[in-house]
Protein backbone atom coordinates (compact mmCIF):
# COMPACT_ATOMS: atom_id res chain seq x y z
CA UNK A 1 0.00 0.00 0.00
CA UNK A 2 2.91 2.32 0.77
CA UNK A 3 4.13 1.86 -2.76
CA UNK A 4 0.79 2.92 -4.07
CA UNK A 5 0.69 6.24 -2.36
CA UNK A 6 1.40 9.56 -3.92
CA UNK A 7 4.57 11.17 -2.51
CA UNK A 8 4.11 13.95 0.04
CA UNK A 9 6.38 16.16 2.16
CA UNK A 10 4.21 15.62 5.21
CA UNK A 11 5.44 13.21 7.86
CA UNK A 12 3.55 10.56 9.75
CA UNK A 13 1.87 8.57 7.03
CA UNK A 14 3.31 5.25 8.15
CA UNK A 15 2.60 5.53 11.88
CA UNK A 16 -0.88 7.02 11.55
CA UNK A 17 -2.08 4.62 8.88
CA UNK A 18 -0.44 1.76 10.73
CA UNK A 19 -2.15 2.64 13.99
CA UNK A 20 -5.49 3.21 12.28
CA UNK A 21 -5.30 -0.15 10.54
CA UNK A 22 -4.21 -1.94 13.72
CA UNK A 23 -7.03 -0.44 15.74
CA UNK A 24 -9.53 -1.10 12.97
CA UNK A 25 -8.40 -4.71 12.81
CA UNK A 26 -8.56 -5.31 16.54
CA UNK A 27 -11.91 -3.68 17.16
CA UNK A 28 -13.77 -4.33 13.93
CA UNK A 29 -12.16 -6.67 11.43
CA UNK A 30 -10.97 -9.60 13.52
CA UNK A 31 -14.21 -9.85 15.53
CA UNK A 32 -16.22 -9.64 12.31
CA UNK A 33 -14.02 -12.37 10.88
CA UNK A 34 -15.03 -14.52 13.85
CA UNK A 35 -18.60 -14.07 12.68
CA UNK A 36 -17.79 -15.23 9.16
CA UNK A 37 -15.92 -18.28 10.35
CA UNK A 38 -18.69 -19.26 12.73
CA UNK A 39 -21.27 -19.09 9.96
CA UNK A 40 -18.94 -21.22 7.83
CA UNK A 41 -19.54 -24.05 10.32
CA UNK A 42 -22.82 -24.63 8.55
CA UNK A 43 -21.32 -25.33 5.16
CA UNK A 44 -22.63 -23.65 2.07
CA UNK A 45 -25.85 -25.66 1.86
CA UNK A 46 -26.60 -25.23 5.53
CA UNK A 47 -25.95 -21.51 5.22
CA UNK A 48 -28.40 -21.19 2.34
CA UNK A 49 -30.99 -23.27 4.17
CA UNK A 50 -30.81 -21.08 7.29
CA UNK A 51 -31.08 -17.77 5.48
CA UNK A 52 -33.84 -18.89 3.13
CA UNK A 53 -36.43 -20.33 5.51
CA UNK A 54 -39.84 -18.71 4.97
CA UNK A 55 -39.53 -17.07 8.35
CA UNK A 56 -36.09 -15.62 7.61
CA UNK A 57 -37.26 -14.41 4.20
CA UNK A 58 -40.28 -12.73 5.80
CA UNK A 59 -37.98 -11.05 8.32
CA UNK A 60 -35.65 -9.88 5.55
CA UNK A 61 -38.61 -8.52 3.61
CA UNK A 62 -39.96 -6.63 6.61
CA UNK A 63 -36.57 -5.28 7.67
CA UNK A 64 -35.50 -4.16 4.22
CA UNK A 65 -38.99 -2.88 3.39
CA UNK A 66 -39.50 -0.91 6.59
CA UNK A 67 -35.94 0.45 6.45
CA UNK A 68 -36.42 1.48 2.84
CA UNK A 69 -39.73 3.13 3.54
CA UNK A 70 -38.36 4.90 6.64
CA UNK A 71 -35.35 6.12 4.64
CA UNK A 72 -37.65 7.43 1.89
CA UNK A 73 -39.77 9.34 4.38
CA UNK A 74 -36.62 10.69 5.98
CA UNK A 75 -35.24 11.65 2.58
CA UNK A 76 -38.31 13.78 1.97
CA UNK A 77 -38.66 15.31 5.43
CA UNK A 78 -34.91 15.45 5.93
CA UNK A 79 -34.59 17.53 2.79
CA UNK A 80 -37.43 19.74 3.96
CA UNK A 81 -35.91 20.14 7.42
CA UNK A 82 -32.44 20.87 6.07
CA UNK A 83 -33.88 23.44 3.67
CA UNK A 84 -35.95 25.18 6.30
CA UNK A 85 -33.14 25.15 8.84
CA UNK A 86 -30.53 26.62 6.49
CA UNK A 87 -32.62 28.96 4.37
CA UNK A 88 -35.15 30.47 6.73
CA UNK A 89 -34.91 32.35 9.98
CA UNK A 90 -37.71 31.73 12.45
CA UNK A 91 -38.09 31.52 16.22
CA UNK A 92 -36.93 28.19 17.64
CA UNK A 93 -34.80 27.36 14.63
CA UNK A 94 -31.68 26.56 16.65
CA UNK A 95 -33.67 24.42 19.08
CA UNK A 96 -35.08 22.36 16.22
CA UNK A 97 -31.64 22.16 14.70
CA UNK A 98 -30.34 20.80 17.98
CA UNK A 99 -33.22 18.37 18.43
CA UNK A 100 -32.31 16.68 15.18
CA UNK A 101 -29.42 14.98 16.99
CA UNK A 102 -31.69 13.60 19.73
CA UNK A 103 -32.02 10.12 18.18
CA UNK A 104 -28.24 9.76 18.37
CA UNK A 105 -28.17 10.38 22.07
CA UNK A 106 -31.33 8.79 23.39
CA UNK A 107 -30.78 5.10 24.16
CA UNK A 108 -32.62 3.05 21.59
CA UNK A 109 -34.48 1.12 24.26
CA UNK A 110 -35.78 4.35 25.75
CA UNK A 111 -36.83 5.51 22.32
CA UNK A 112 -38.68 2.22 21.84
CA UNK A 113 -40.45 2.44 25.19
CA UNK A 114 -41.36 6.09 24.63
CA UNK A 115 -42.70 5.39 21.15
CA UNK A 116 -44.68 2.40 22.41
CA UNK A 117 -46.13 4.54 25.22
CA UNK A 118 -47.04 7.18 22.64
CA UNK A 119 -48.56 4.93 19.99
CA UNK A 120 -50.21 2.22 22.13
CA UNK A 121 -54.02 2.28 21.85
CA UNK A 122 -54.13 4.00 25.25
CA UNK A 123 -51.28 6.43 24.46
CA UNK A 124 -51.42 10.10 23.48
CA UNK A 125 -51.23 9.51 19.75
CA UNK A 126 -52.38 5.91 19.69
CA UNK A 127 -55.76 6.75 21.18
CA UNK A 128 -56.33 9.38 18.48
CA UNK A 129 -55.26 7.04 15.70
CA UNK A 130 -57.31 4.23 17.20
CA UNK A 131 -60.47 6.27 16.73
CA UNK A 132 -59.90 6.44 13.00
CA UNK A 133 -59.01 2.77 12.92
CA UNK A 134 -55.24 3.04 12.47
CA UNK A 135 -53.04 0.78 14.55
CA UNK A 136 -49.37 1.64 14.81
CA UNK A 137 -47.95 0.01 17.92
CA UNK A 138 -47.51 -3.78 17.63
CA UNK A 139 -47.87 -3.80 13.85
CA UNK A 140 -45.33 -3.48 11.03
CA UNK A 141 -46.20 0.23 11.06
CA UNK A 142 -44.63 0.37 14.51
CA UNK A 143 -41.37 -0.90 13.04
CA UNK A 144 -41.54 1.88 10.49
CA UNK A 145 -42.14 4.59 13.13
CA UNK A 146 -39.18 3.43 15.21
CA UNK A 147 -36.92 3.33 12.16
CA UNK A 148 -37.95 6.84 11.11
CA UNK A 149 -37.02 8.07 14.57
CA UNK A 150 -33.57 6.51 14.77
CA UNK A 151 -32.47 7.31 11.20
CA UNK A 152 -33.82 10.86 11.08
CA UNK A 153 -30.55 12.76 11.64
CA UNK A 154 -28.68 11.25 8.72
CA UNK A 155 -30.41 12.95 5.79
CA UNK A 156 -30.63 16.33 7.53
CA UNK A 157 -27.01 16.30 8.57
CA UNK A 158 -25.81 15.25 5.14
CA UNK A 159 -27.71 17.87 3.18
CA UNK A 160 -27.20 20.83 5.49
CA UNK A 161 -23.55 21.55 4.66
CA UNK A 162 -24.17 21.29 0.93
CA UNK A 163 -27.05 23.71 1.18
CA UNK A 164 -24.88 26.08 3.15
CA UNK A 165 -22.19 25.94 0.51
CA UNK A 166 -24.59 26.42 -2.34
CA UNK A 167 -23.68 29.68 -4.06
CA UNK A 168 -26.61 32.10 -4.44
CA UNK A 169 -25.22 33.24 -7.78
CA UNK A 170 -26.49 30.06 -9.39
CA UNK A 171 -30.03 30.66 -8.29
CA UNK A 172 -29.82 34.35 -9.16
CA UNK A 173 -28.61 33.50 -12.63
CA UNK A 174 -31.39 31.04 -13.11
CA UNK A 175 -33.98 33.56 -11.93
CA UNK A 176 -32.60 36.30 -14.15
CA UNK A 177 -32.81 33.93 -17.13
CA UNK A 178 -36.53 33.73 -16.54
CA UNK A 179 -36.96 30.53 -14.61
CA UNK A 180 -39.64 30.58 -11.97
CA UNK A 181 -38.81 29.55 -8.44
CA UNK A 182 -39.94 25.94 -8.89
CA UNK A 183 -37.97 25.56 -12.11
CA UNK A 184 -34.88 26.98 -10.45
CA UNK A 185 -35.30 24.62 -7.56
CA UNK A 186 -36.00 21.62 -9.71
CA UNK A 187 -33.30 22.13 -12.35
CA UNK A 188 -30.60 24.09 -10.52
CA UNK A 189 -30.75 23.41 -6.80
CA UNK A 190 -31.99 19.85 -6.69
CA UNK A 191 -29.28 18.37 -8.97
CA UNK A 192 -26.61 19.83 -6.69
CA UNK A 193 -28.31 18.36 -3.63
CA UNK A 194 -28.95 14.99 -5.19
CA UNK A 195 -25.65 13.26 -4.32
CA UNK A 196 -25.92 14.37 -0.70
CA UNK A 197 -29.55 13.33 -0.62
CA UNK A 198 -28.68 9.90 -1.94
CA UNK A 199 -25.87 9.59 0.57
CA UNK A 200 -28.11 10.58 3.45
CA UNK A 201 -30.78 8.24 2.22
CA UNK A 202 -28.37 5.32 2.00
CA UNK A 203 -26.90 6.04 5.45
CA UNK A 204 -30.36 6.23 6.98
CA UNK A 205 -31.25 2.99 5.22
CA UNK A 206 -28.11 1.22 6.46
CA UNK A 207 -28.65 2.41 10.02
CA UNK A 208 -32.30 1.36 9.98
CA UNK A 209 -31.44 -2.13 8.75
CA UNK A 210 -29.55 -2.99 11.91
CA UNK A 211 -31.78 -1.36 14.51
CA UNK A 212 -32.92 -3.60 17.34
CA UNK A 213 -33.46 -1.88 20.69
CA UNK A 214 -36.20 0.53 19.73
CA UNK A 215 -38.05 -1.79 17.39
CA UNK A 216 -38.69 -4.75 19.68
CA UNK A 217 -40.65 -2.59 22.10
CA UNK A 218 -43.09 -1.34 19.50
CA UNK A 219 -43.26 -4.14 16.94
CA UNK A 220 -45.60 -7.03 17.68
CA UNK A 221 -42.68 -9.42 17.03
CA UNK A 222 -44.96 -11.97 15.38
CA UNK A 223 -42.93 -14.43 13.30
CA UNK A 224 -43.51 -13.89 9.59
CA UNK A 225 -45.37 -10.66 10.21
CA UNK A 226 -43.67 -8.14 12.47
CA UNK A 227 -40.40 -9.90 13.32
CA UNK A 228 -37.26 -8.07 12.23
CA UNK A 229 -33.96 -9.68 11.28
CA UNK A 230 -31.96 -8.58 14.34
CA UNK A 231 -34.67 -10.16 16.52
CA UNK A 232 -34.41 -13.34 14.50
CA UNK A 233 -30.67 -13.37 15.14
CA UNK A 234 -31.37 -12.91 18.83
CA UNK A 235 -33.89 -15.78 18.77
CA UNK A 236 -31.37 -18.07 17.06
CA UNK A 237 -28.93 -17.28 19.85
CA UNK A 238 -31.58 -18.14 22.43
CA UNK A 239 -31.77 -21.59 20.87
CA UNK A 240 -28.00 -21.95 21.18
CA UNK A 241 -27.72 -21.88 17.39
CA UNK A 242 -24.64 -19.72 17.13
CA UNK A 243 -23.84 -20.73 13.57
CA UNK A 244 -27.35 -19.97 12.33
CA UNK A 245 -27.29 -16.61 14.12
CA UNK A 246 -23.91 -15.86 12.56
CA UNK A 247 -25.21 -16.86 9.10
CA UNK A 248 -28.13 -14.43 9.23
CA UNK A 249 -25.85 -11.78 10.68
CA UNK A 250 -23.43 -12.33 7.83
CA UNK A 251 -26.12 -11.62 5.25
CA UNK A 252 -27.01 -8.39 7.07
CA UNK A 253 -23.36 -7.45 7.32
CA UNK A 254 -22.71 -8.00 3.62
CA UNK A 255 -25.77 -5.95 2.73
CA UNK A 256 -24.55 -3.10 4.93
CA UNK A 257 -21.04 -3.30 3.54
CA UNK A 258 -22.14 -3.21 -0.09
CA UNK A 259 -24.46 -0.34 0.67
CA UNK A 260 -21.75 1.69 2.40
CA UNK A 261 -19.23 0.95 -0.32
CA UNK A 262 -21.72 2.21 -2.89
CA UNK A 263 -22.20 5.37 -0.82
CA UNK A 264 -18.50 6.04 -0.69
CA UNK A 265 -18.01 5.41 -4.39
CA UNK A 266 -20.99 7.66 -5.08
CA UNK A 267 -19.42 10.26 -2.83
CA UNK A 268 -16.14 10.09 -4.73
CA UNK A 269 -17.93 10.26 -8.05
CA UNK A 270 -19.99 13.23 -6.90
CA UNK A 271 -17.05 15.18 -5.56
CA UNK A 272 -15.02 14.50 -8.71
CA UNK A 273 -17.88 15.56 -10.94
CA UNK A 274 -18.42 18.58 -8.79
CA UNK A 275 -14.75 19.50 -8.88
CA UNK A 276 -14.55 19.53 -12.65
Amino acid sequence: MLALRRPSVLPGFGPTLGFALLYLSLIVLIPLAALFFRSADLGFDGFLRVVSTPRALAAFRLTFGAALFAALVNAFFGLLLAWVLTRYRFPGRRIIDGLVDLPFALPTAVAGIALATLYAPNGWLGSLLDKVGIKVAYTPAGVFVALVFISLPFVVRTIQPVLQDLEPELEEASASLGANRWQTWRFVVFPVLLPALLTGFALAFARALGEYGSVIFIAGNLPGRSEIVPLLIFIQLEQYQYAAAAAIATVMLLASFVLLLLINLLQRWASKRHGE
Partner: protein, 345 residues
Protein backbone atom coordinates in the same frame (compact mmCIF):
# COMPACT_ATOMS: atom_id res chain seq x y z
CA UNK B 1 -3.35 -19.62 39.27
CA UNK B 2 -5.58 -20.63 42.10
CA UNK B 3 -3.29 -19.15 44.72
CA UNK B 4 -3.47 -15.59 43.49
CA UNK B 5 -6.32 -13.25 43.40
CA UNK B 6 -7.29 -13.49 39.78
CA UNK B 7 -6.59 -10.66 37.39
CA UNK B 8 -10.21 -10.57 36.33
CA UNK B 9 -11.23 -10.60 39.96
CA UNK B 10 -8.94 -7.69 40.63
CA UNK B 11 -10.30 -5.69 37.75
CA UNK B 12 -13.78 -6.46 38.91
CA UNK B 13 -12.85 -5.43 42.43
CA UNK B 14 -11.52 -2.12 41.15
CA UNK B 15 -14.72 -1.53 39.32
CA UNK B 16 -16.69 -2.54 42.36
CA UNK B 17 -14.56 -0.25 44.50
CA UNK B 18 -15.00 2.63 42.09
CA UNK B 19 -18.71 2.07 42.06
CA UNK B 20 -18.89 1.78 45.82
CA UNK B 21 -16.94 5.02 46.12
CA UNK B 22 -19.49 6.66 43.88
CA UNK B 23 -22.37 5.43 45.94
CA UNK B 24 -21.59 5.50 49.61
CA UNK B 25 -24.84 3.70 50.33
CA UNK B 26 -24.00 0.66 48.20
CA UNK B 27 -24.44 -2.53 50.16
CA UNK B 28 -21.74 -5.04 50.94
CA UNK B 29 -18.61 -2.89 51.08
CA UNK B 30 -16.83 -5.36 53.30
CA UNK B 31 -18.01 -8.45 51.45
CA UNK B 32 -15.41 -11.15 51.68
CA UNK B 33 -17.06 -13.58 49.31
CA UNK B 34 -19.48 -12.79 46.57
CA UNK B 35 -21.92 -15.21 45.03
CA UNK B 36 -23.48 -14.60 41.66
CA UNK B 37 -26.97 -16.01 41.18
CA UNK B 38 -27.97 -15.96 37.51
CA UNK B 39 -31.73 -16.17 37.34
CA UNK B 40 -34.66 -15.55 35.02
CA UNK B 41 -36.95 -12.56 34.86
CA UNK B 42 -39.83 -13.05 37.33
CA UNK B 43 -37.68 -14.03 40.32
CA UNK B 44 -36.33 -10.55 41.09
CA UNK B 45 -38.51 -9.93 44.12
CA UNK B 46 -38.15 -13.51 45.37
CA UNK B 47 -34.37 -13.51 45.40
CA UNK B 48 -34.13 -10.03 46.81
CA UNK B 49 -35.90 -11.42 49.87
CA UNK B 50 -34.09 -14.77 49.84
CA UNK B 51 -30.65 -13.15 49.56
CA UNK B 52 -31.19 -10.89 52.54
CA UNK B 53 -32.33 -13.85 54.64
CA UNK B 54 -29.47 -16.08 53.46
CA UNK B 55 -26.77 -13.47 54.10
CA UNK B 56 -28.02 -13.09 57.68
CA UNK B 57 -28.33 -16.84 58.13
CA UNK B 58 -24.83 -17.51 56.78
CA UNK B 59 -23.35 -14.81 59.01
CA UNK B 60 -25.02 -16.35 62.03
CA UNK B 61 -23.82 -19.84 61.15
CA UNK B 62 -20.25 -19.20 59.99
CA UNK B 63 -19.43 -15.62 60.93
CA UNK B 64 -18.62 -14.87 57.29
CA UNK B 65 -20.03 -11.80 55.66
CA UNK B 66 -21.00 -12.62 52.13
CA UNK B 67 -22.79 -10.87 49.36
CA UNK B 68 -25.11 -12.24 46.69
CA UNK B 69 -25.23 -10.50 43.34
CA UNK B 70 -28.19 -11.02 41.05
CA UNK B 71 -28.46 -11.11 37.29
CA UNK B 72 -31.89 -11.41 35.67
CA UNK B 73 -32.95 -11.87 32.09
CA UNK B 74 -34.68 -14.29 29.77
CA UNK B 75 -33.98 -17.84 30.94
CA UNK B 76 -32.39 -18.91 27.65
CA UNK B 77 -30.27 -15.76 27.39
CA UNK B 78 -29.05 -16.26 30.94
CA UNK B 79 -28.09 -19.88 30.31
CA UNK B 80 -26.26 -18.77 27.19
CA UNK B 81 -24.37 -16.12 29.15
CA UNK B 82 -23.22 -18.79 31.60
CA UNK B 83 -22.18 -21.01 28.69
CA UNK B 84 -20.26 -18.09 27.20
CA UNK B 85 -18.42 -17.50 30.45
CA UNK B 86 -20.58 -15.47 32.82
CA UNK B 87 -19.06 -16.32 36.18
CA UNK B 88 -22.21 -17.63 37.88
CA UNK B 89 -21.92 -19.65 41.08
CA UNK B 90 -25.49 -20.83 40.89
CA UNK B 91 -28.20 -20.66 38.27
CA UNK B 92 -31.90 -20.55 39.12
CA UNK B 93 -33.67 -20.75 35.78
CA UNK B 94 -37.16 -21.19 34.38
CA UNK B 95 -36.82 -24.69 32.99
CA UNK B 96 -34.56 -27.70 33.11
CA UNK B 97 -33.83 -27.53 29.41
CA UNK B 98 -31.76 -24.38 29.86
CA UNK B 99 -29.65 -25.98 32.60
CA UNK B 100 -29.32 -29.08 30.41
CA UNK B 101 -27.77 -26.80 27.81
CA UNK B 102 -25.19 -25.71 30.37
CA UNK B 103 -24.54 -29.38 31.22
CA UNK B 104 -24.12 -30.16 27.52
CA UNK B 105 -21.13 -27.78 27.48
CA UNK B 106 -19.55 -29.66 30.36
CA UNK B 107 -19.82 -26.94 33.00
CA UNK B 108 -21.87 -29.21 35.23
CA UNK B 109 -22.47 -32.97 35.24
CA UNK B 110 -25.31 -34.35 33.13
CA UNK B 111 -27.14 -35.72 36.18
CA UNK B 112 -27.30 -32.30 37.84
CA UNK B 113 -31.01 -32.56 38.45
CA UNK B 114 -30.53 -35.49 40.81
CA UNK B 115 -28.16 -33.63 43.11
CA UNK B 116 -30.85 -31.79 45.04
CA UNK B 117 -34.25 -32.91 46.33
CA UNK B 118 -37.49 -32.52 44.38
CA UNK B 119 -35.92 -32.52 40.91
CA UNK B 120 -33.69 -29.65 42.05
CA UNK B 121 -36.73 -27.40 42.19
CA UNK B 122 -37.35 -26.00 45.70
CA UNK B 123 -40.49 -24.25 44.50
CA UNK B 124 -42.96 -24.75 41.70
CA UNK B 125 -45.48 -22.66 39.90
CA UNK B 126 -48.09 -23.06 37.22
CA UNK B 127 -49.72 -21.17 34.41
CA UNK B 128 -52.90 -19.15 35.02
CA UNK B 129 -54.90 -16.50 33.18
CA UNK B 130 -54.92 -12.83 34.07
CA UNK B 131 -58.02 -10.98 32.83
CA UNK B 132 -59.50 -7.53 33.24
CA UNK B 133 -61.62 -6.99 36.35
CA UNK B 134 -65.06 -8.50 35.98
CA UNK B 135 -63.79 -10.80 33.21
CA UNK B 136 -65.70 -9.00 30.43
CA UNK B 137 -65.06 -11.75 27.89
CA UNK B 138 -66.13 -14.49 30.28
CA UNK B 139 -62.91 -16.45 30.00
CA UNK B 140 -63.03 -19.58 32.14
CA UNK B 141 -60.83 -22.18 30.54
CA UNK B 142 -58.38 -22.89 27.74
CA UNK B 143 -61.13 -23.45 25.15
CA UNK B 144 -62.25 -19.83 25.64
CA UNK B 145 -58.90 -18.66 24.35
CA UNK B 146 -59.42 -19.94 20.82
CA UNK B 147 -62.76 -18.14 20.35
CA UNK B 148 -62.96 -15.47 17.70
CA UNK B 149 -62.52 -11.96 19.08
CA UNK B 150 -60.48 -12.98 22.11
CA UNK B 151 -56.98 -11.57 22.13
CA UNK B 152 -54.38 -13.57 24.03
CA UNK B 153 -51.08 -12.15 25.26
CA UNK B 154 -48.14 -14.49 25.76
CA UNK B 155 -44.41 -14.08 25.23
CA UNK B 156 -42.57 -15.91 22.46
CA UNK B 157 -41.87 -19.56 23.40
CA UNK B 158 -38.63 -19.30 21.46
CA UNK B 159 -37.24 -16.66 23.78
CA UNK B 160 -39.16 -17.03 27.02
CA UNK B 161 -39.16 -19.96 29.42
CA UNK B 162 -42.54 -18.99 30.84
CA UNK B 163 -44.01 -18.95 27.35
CA UNK B 164 -42.90 -22.53 26.82
CA UNK B 165 -44.87 -23.54 29.89
CA UNK B 166 -47.85 -21.55 28.51
CA UNK B 167 -47.64 -23.34 25.22
CA UNK B 168 -47.24 -26.79 26.74
CA UNK B 169 -50.11 -26.24 29.17
CA UNK B 170 -52.39 -25.36 26.25
CA UNK B 171 -51.14 -28.38 24.35
CA UNK B 172 -51.74 -30.69 27.33
CA UNK B 173 -55.29 -29.34 27.76
CA UNK B 174 -56.14 -29.87 24.10
CA UNK B 175 -54.65 -33.35 24.01
CA UNK B 176 -56.79 -34.40 26.98
CA UNK B 177 -60.09 -33.40 25.43
CA UNK B 178 -62.40 -36.25 24.49
CA UNK B 179 -61.56 -37.58 21.05
CA UNK B 180 -58.41 -35.49 20.80
CA UNK B 181 -55.80 -36.48 18.25
CA UNK B 182 -52.41 -35.04 17.42
CA UNK B 183 -54.08 -33.09 14.61
CA UNK B 184 -56.86 -31.58 16.75
CA UNK B 185 -54.33 -30.63 19.40
CA UNK B 186 -52.18 -28.87 16.86
CA UNK B 187 -55.18 -27.05 15.43
CA UNK B 188 -56.18 -25.96 18.92
CA UNK B 189 -52.77 -24.49 19.70
CA UNK B 190 -52.61 -22.94 16.26
CA UNK B 191 -55.97 -21.20 16.74
CA UNK B 192 -54.82 -20.01 20.14
CA UNK B 193 -51.73 -18.38 18.63
CA UNK B 194 -53.87 -16.89 15.87
CA UNK B 195 -55.43 -14.84 18.66
CA UNK B 196 -52.05 -13.51 19.82
CA UNK B 197 -51.47 -9.94 18.59
CA UNK B 198 -48.08 -9.34 20.26
CA UNK B 199 -45.27 -11.74 21.09
CA UNK B 200 -42.88 -10.13 23.54
CA UNK B 201 -39.46 -11.65 24.11
CA UNK B 202 -39.95 -12.12 27.86
CA UNK B 203 -42.65 -12.70 30.46
CA UNK B 204 -42.28 -9.22 31.92
CA UNK B 205 -42.65 -7.63 28.51
CA UNK B 206 -45.95 -9.43 28.02
CA UNK B 207 -47.24 -8.32 31.41
CA UNK B 208 -46.42 -4.71 30.52
CA UNK B 209 -48.10 -5.07 27.14
CA UNK B 210 -51.24 -6.42 28.77
CA UNK B 211 -51.43 -4.42 31.98
CA UNK B 212 -49.81 -1.12 31.05
CA UNK B 213 -50.61 -0.78 27.35
CA UNK B 214 -54.07 -2.32 27.62
CA UNK B 215 -53.58 -4.76 24.74
CA UNK B 216 -55.46 -8.09 24.72
CA UNK B 217 -58.19 -9.73 26.78
CA UNK B 218 -56.20 -12.35 28.63
CA UNK B 219 -52.58 -12.77 29.66
CA UNK B 220 -51.09 -16.24 30.01
CA UNK B 221 -48.73 -15.90 32.92
CA UNK B 222 -46.81 -17.62 35.63
CA UNK B 223 -49.03 -17.81 38.68
CA UNK B 224 -46.47 -15.79 40.65
CA UNK B 225 -46.35 -13.14 37.91
CA UNK B 226 -50.12 -12.89 37.89
CA UNK B 227 -50.21 -12.30 41.67
CA UNK B 228 -47.42 -9.76 41.37
CA UNK B 229 -49.14 -7.93 38.53
CA UNK B 230 -52.31 -7.65 40.58
CA UNK B 231 -50.31 -6.25 43.48
CA UNK B 232 -48.49 -3.79 41.21
CA UNK B 233 -51.31 -2.60 39.01
CA UNK B 234 -54.19 -2.86 41.46
CA UNK B 235 -56.76 -5.38 42.57
CA UNK B 236 -59.49 -3.23 41.07
CA UNK B 237 -58.06 -3.66 37.57
CA UNK B 238 -57.29 -7.34 37.07
CA UNK B 239 -58.27 -10.74 38.35
CA UNK B 240 -56.88 -14.25 38.06
CA UNK B 241 -58.75 -17.04 36.30
CA UNK B 242 -57.61 -20.57 37.07
CA UNK B 243 -58.21 -22.98 34.20
CA UNK B 244 -59.53 -26.51 34.73
CA UNK B 245 -56.06 -27.92 34.25
CA UNK B 246 -52.57 -26.56 33.89
CA UNK B 247 -48.96 -27.64 33.99
CA UNK B 248 -46.61 -28.16 36.91
CA UNK B 249 -43.77 -25.76 36.23
CA UNK B 250 -40.59 -26.69 38.06
CA UNK B 251 -38.00 -23.92 37.86
CA UNK B 252 -34.77 -25.74 38.72
CA UNK B 253 -31.56 -24.64 40.40
CA UNK B 254 -27.96 -25.82 40.08
CA UNK B 255 -24.43 -25.07 41.17
CA UNK B 256 -22.07 -24.29 38.31
CA UNK B 257 -19.26 -26.64 39.30
CA UNK B 258 -16.64 -25.29 36.98
CA UNK B 259 -17.10 -21.77 38.29
CA UNK B 260 -17.37 -22.50 42.02
CA UNK B 261 -14.26 -24.69 41.88
CA UNK B 262 -12.31 -21.90 40.23
CA UNK B 263 -13.66 -19.23 42.56
CA UNK B 264 -13.49 -21.57 45.59
CA UNK B 265 -17.04 -20.71 46.54
CA UNK B 266 -18.48 -24.21 46.54
CA UNK B 267 -19.28 -24.29 50.26
CA UNK B 268 -21.23 -21.07 50.29
CA UNK B 269 -22.90 -21.83 46.95
CA UNK B 270 -24.09 -25.17 48.25
CA UNK B 271 -25.21 -23.50 51.45
CA UNK B 272 -27.18 -21.03 49.35
CA UNK B 273 -29.05 -23.66 47.37
CA UNK B 274 -29.71 -25.84 50.42
CA UNK B 275 -31.05 -22.77 52.19
CA UNK B 276 -33.87 -22.65 49.65
CA UNK B 277 -35.24 -25.90 51.14
CA UNK B 278 -35.23 -24.62 54.74
CA UNK B 279 -38.44 -23.62 56.52
CA UNK B 280 -37.42 -19.96 56.55
CA UNK B 281 -36.86 -19.90 52.78
CA UNK B 282 -40.01 -21.90 52.06
CA UNK B 283 -42.01 -19.26 53.92
CA UNK B 284 -40.40 -16.50 51.82
CA UNK B 285 -41.10 -18.50 48.68
CA UNK B 286 -44.81 -18.77 49.49
CA UNK B 287 -44.97 -15.08 50.42
CA UNK B 288 -43.62 -14.30 46.94
CA UNK B 289 -46.38 -16.33 45.32
CA UNK B 290 -44.32 -19.39 44.34
CA UNK B 291 -45.73 -22.72 45.44
CA UNK B 292 -43.45 -24.06 48.20
CA UNK B 293 -42.39 -27.70 48.17
CA UNK B 294 -43.05 -27.85 51.90
CA UNK B 295 -46.23 -25.84 52.47
CA UNK B 296 -46.22 -26.80 56.13
CA UNK B 297 -43.41 -24.26 56.69
CA UNK B 298 -45.18 -21.39 55.00
CA UNK B 299 -47.79 -19.08 56.49
CA UNK B 300 -51.22 -20.68 56.07
CA UNK B 301 -52.54 -17.44 54.59
CA UNK B 302 -49.87 -17.58 51.88
CA UNK B 303 -50.58 -21.22 51.13
CA UNK B 304 -54.29 -20.50 50.89
CA UNK B 305 -53.71 -18.21 47.89
CA UNK B 306 -52.85 -21.19 45.68
CA UNK B 307 -55.98 -22.76 44.21
CA UNK B 308 -56.17 -26.51 43.74
CA UNK B 309 -55.81 -27.33 40.07
CA UNK B 310 -55.08 -30.46 38.12
CA UNK B 311 -51.46 -30.25 36.99
CA UNK B 312 -49.77 -32.33 34.33
CA UNK B 313 -46.01 -32.73 34.36
CA UNK B 314 -43.48 -32.26 31.63
CA UNK B 315 -42.10 -35.76 32.14
CA UNK B 316 -45.50 -37.43 32.27
CA UNK B 317 -47.10 -35.58 29.41
CA UNK B 318 -44.25 -34.73 27.07
CA UNK B 319 -41.54 -37.25 27.88
CA UNK B 320 -39.14 -34.69 29.34
CA UNK B 321 -37.72 -31.39 28.21
CA UNK B 322 -35.35 -32.66 25.57
CA UNK B 323 -38.22 -34.29 23.70
CA UNK B 324 -40.62 -31.38 24.19
CA UNK B 325 -37.98 -28.97 22.96
CA UNK B 326 -37.12 -30.87 19.81
CA UNK B 327 -40.76 -31.59 18.94
CA UNK B 328 -42.21 -28.17 19.62
CA UNK B 329 -39.67 -25.39 19.84
CA UNK B 330 -36.66 -26.36 17.73
CA UNK B 331 -36.29 -24.81 14.27
CA UNK B 332 -38.96 -26.34 12.06
CA UNK B 333 -40.80 -27.72 15.11
CA UNK B 334 -44.53 -27.46 15.75
CA UNK B 335 -44.32 -23.86 16.92
CA UNK B 336 -42.57 -22.85 13.70
CA UNK B 337 -45.17 -24.71 11.66
CA UNK B 338 -47.88 -22.70 13.39
CA UNK B 339 -46.15 -19.53 12.30
CA UNK B 340 -45.29 -20.51 8.77
CA UNK B 341 -45.80 -17.26 6.85
CA UNK B 342 -49.19 -17.22 5.23
CA UNK B 343 -50.44 -19.78 7.76
CA UNK B 344 -51.47 -17.06 10.16
CA UNK B 345 -52.98 -13.84 9.11
Amino acid sequence: MKRNTSMGGRIRNWVAAAIVALSAAAPGVAASQTLLNVSYDPTRELYEAINAAFVADWKAKTGQTIRVNQAHGGSGAQARAVIDGLNADVVTLALAYDIDAIAARGLIPADWQKRLPNNSAPYTSTIVFLVKKGNPKGIKDWNDLVKAGVQVITPNPKTSGGARWNYLAAWAYASKQPGATEATTKTFVQSLFKNVPVLDTGARGSTVTFAQRGIGDVLLAWENEAFLAINEFGRDKFEIVVPSMSILAEPPIAIIDRNVDRKRTRAVAEGYLNFLYTPAAQAIIAANHYRPRFPEHAKPADVAQFPKVELVTIDGQFGGWAKAQSTHFADGGVFDQIYTPGGVR
